[in-house]
């Protein structure tokens, strides 16, 4: 019986368009779970004014 984590991982693999060999499936699933656990930190709420670090920089570059 697949667990919810199995289903979620399988969906993530399909969406990414990847093929994972059967003998590496469990290692990759565990890595996926570890990654998502760390990335939960990104769910902490930010304010509306907290903009991303990568924005177009359209400031003049000087006289070059």
């Amino acid at each position: 019986m697949p667990t919810p984590e199995d289903s979620e991982f399988a969906a993530a693999v399909r969406r990414a368009g990847l093929t994972i060999p059967p003998d590496r499936w469990e290692a990759m699933r565990a890595a996926y779970c570890d990654m998502q656990a760390l990335l939960q930190l990104l769910d902490d709420p930010l304010t509306y004014v907290d903009e991303p670090a990568v924005l177009p920089d359209l400031r003049p570059r000087g006289g070059r």
């Binding site: 368009g17 590496r24 990759m28 570890d34 990654m35 760390l38 990104l42 991303p52 670090a53």
Partner: protein
């Protein structure tokens, strides 16, 4: 020049060239002989470009004898991590995918070093595509640590660290997305400078993560890092990440010392990041030495390490996956297993997670920048301890620990790794000096003062050479 001895530093070689004690041809021959003799043991080089090096050295010698010396780098040997383009040579990124990839032009950095008259000795080993880890299922073997070849060099600029530590090259170029200059510098006992993001052009260097990638030098001394950065730094309109910020004279303040400076010691942060006993003691000793030189050393608190990790481990794999997704889907078998699996993880990050990471990155950058209101530089660890055995390196898809070095890829500030002692097993320990954005001169000044007082550079790996 004797190939049995490590090559002199850039500064020393330059002085000897100026006085006629040594010629560029002699230096190149010594580097080539040393590379040939040690590469079986260290696997630092993917390709040794002997013919090209001899021709370049002869040109440099003729120019210098003819009164056309270009500066302190003229006639000095160097190497390129094999993600840097050099016209007419392969850039493999240590990968099967790029075995036939011949560079049509020099990387911007290569062009700058060539214009300075440097002599390319060869292309250096890396972790595949500057990521992954040491792997044995690739066309080239992983580099080995000159202090003990059973141990890891650190990476991904693995060959660069090995070649400089082994005294084959006084300068090797590396790249740093999460620590890939500073980690091999730390494990191999060299100096490694990650300049401010945007300070050195990335054009012509195989990308790993556009918003984190930084190019910089590995050298034996801080003075040599300053000499290299002088040639490398500058605005490049063909690199979208390049910063149009004036380049100062990095040698001008190098010897001013640290008296009166205030240095923030992020001791608690290093402890929380798992820095071990010997490494922590060496850092404490470094802080005391800087204080003894007249600096005011204060403890400072960085934001929690897991926040930096969440940001770095979202942004880096996402951008890397975007670069490699086509190959990962169509011919994944061409990558080493460790590279393939780590790159694949980026395909599982959602768009919202990526944007959140970039938002948190801006907040963290501002918090770290604010620390410099109270101090001129920061002192932290680069690594938790000395180099592990190559056989014990983490080769799982999810790294058990992200290096401390990645903090300053997230924030973009300049950071320099340099030796701060030796572990009981004889392997180097390392400290990290960090500065305000574009304040590489301050970083170099603090590091130079420490290096001159601590004198760790006098110890080199014992590498027996045939007579």
């Amino acid at each position: 020049m004797k190939a049995q001895e490590p090559l002199p530093t850039i500064a020393e070689a330059s002085r000897r060239i100026a006085t006629g004690e040594v010629s560029p041809v002699e230096l190149a021959e010594a580097a080539l002989q040393r590379a040939a003799a040690l590469n079986d043991r260290l696997s630092a080089f993917i390709e040794i470009t002997a013919e090209r090096a001899r021709a370049a050295a002869k040109r440099a010698e003729a120019d210098i004898r003819g009164g056309r010396r270009r500066g302190p780098l003229h006639g000095i040997p160097y190497g390129l991590k094999d993600i840097y383009d050099a016209r007419g040579l392969r850039t493999t990124a240590h990968s099967r995918l790029l075995l036939d990839n011949i560079a049509a032009e020099d990387a911007a950095t290569t062009a700058r070093l060539e214009a300075a008259g440097m002599v390319l000795i060869g292309k250096l080993a890396t972790h595949e595509f500057a990521t992954g880890g040491p792997a044995f299922d690739l066309p080239f073997p992983p580099a080995r640590n000159p202090w003990n070849p059973a141990h890891f060099t650190g990476g991904s600029s693995s060959g660069s660290g090995a070649a400089v530590a082994a005294g084959i090259l006084p300068l090797a170029m590396g790249s740093d997305t999460g620590g890939s200059i500073r980690l091999p510098a730390a494990y191999c006992g060299t100096v490694g400078l990650k300049p401010t993001y945007g300070r050195v052009s990335r054009r012509g260097v195989v990308p790993l993560c556009y918003s984190l990638d930084t190019c910089g030098p590995l050298t034996w001394t801080v003075e040599d890092a300053a000499l290299a950065l002088q040639a490398l730094a500058g605005y490049d309109p063909r690199d979208p990440g390049s910063a149009d910020v004036p380049v100062p004279d990095y040698g001008a303040g190098l010897r001013r010392g640290v008296a009166g400076m205030r240095i923030g010691y992020a001791r608690r942060f290093s402890e929380d990041a798992g820095v071990g006993g010997e490494q922590q003691a060496a850092l404490d000793a470094a802080a005391q030495l800087l204080a003894g030189l007249g600096a005011e050393v204060i403890e400072v608190a960085l934001p929690p390490n897991d926040q930096f990790q969440a940001v770095a481990r979202t942004i880096s794999p996402s951008e890397s996956f975007a670069i490699h997704q086509d190959d990962l889907r169509k011919r994944p078998e061409l990558y080493a297993r460790v590279t393939r699996e780590r790159l694949m993880l980026g395909g599982f990050v959602t768009a919202a997670q990526y944007v959140q990471a970039q938002r948190l990155r801006r907040i963290l950058t501002a918090k770290v920048a604010a620390l410099f209101d109270a101090c001129d530089a920061l002192l932290t660890a680069v690594i938790p301890g000395p180099a592990p055995l190559l056989a014990d390196t983490d080769d799982g898809p999810w790294r058990r620990a992200q290096p401390i070095s990645s903090v300053f890829n997230v924030t973009g500030q300049p950071a320099l790794a340099l030796p701060c002692g030796f572990a009981a097993n004889g392997l180097p320990l390392s400290a990290q000096i960090v500065g305000r954005a574009f304040a590489e001169a301050t970083v170099l000044r603090v590091a130079h003062a420490y290096e001159q007082a601590a004198r760790w550079t006098s110890r080199r790996p014992a590498l027996a050479m045939p007579d």
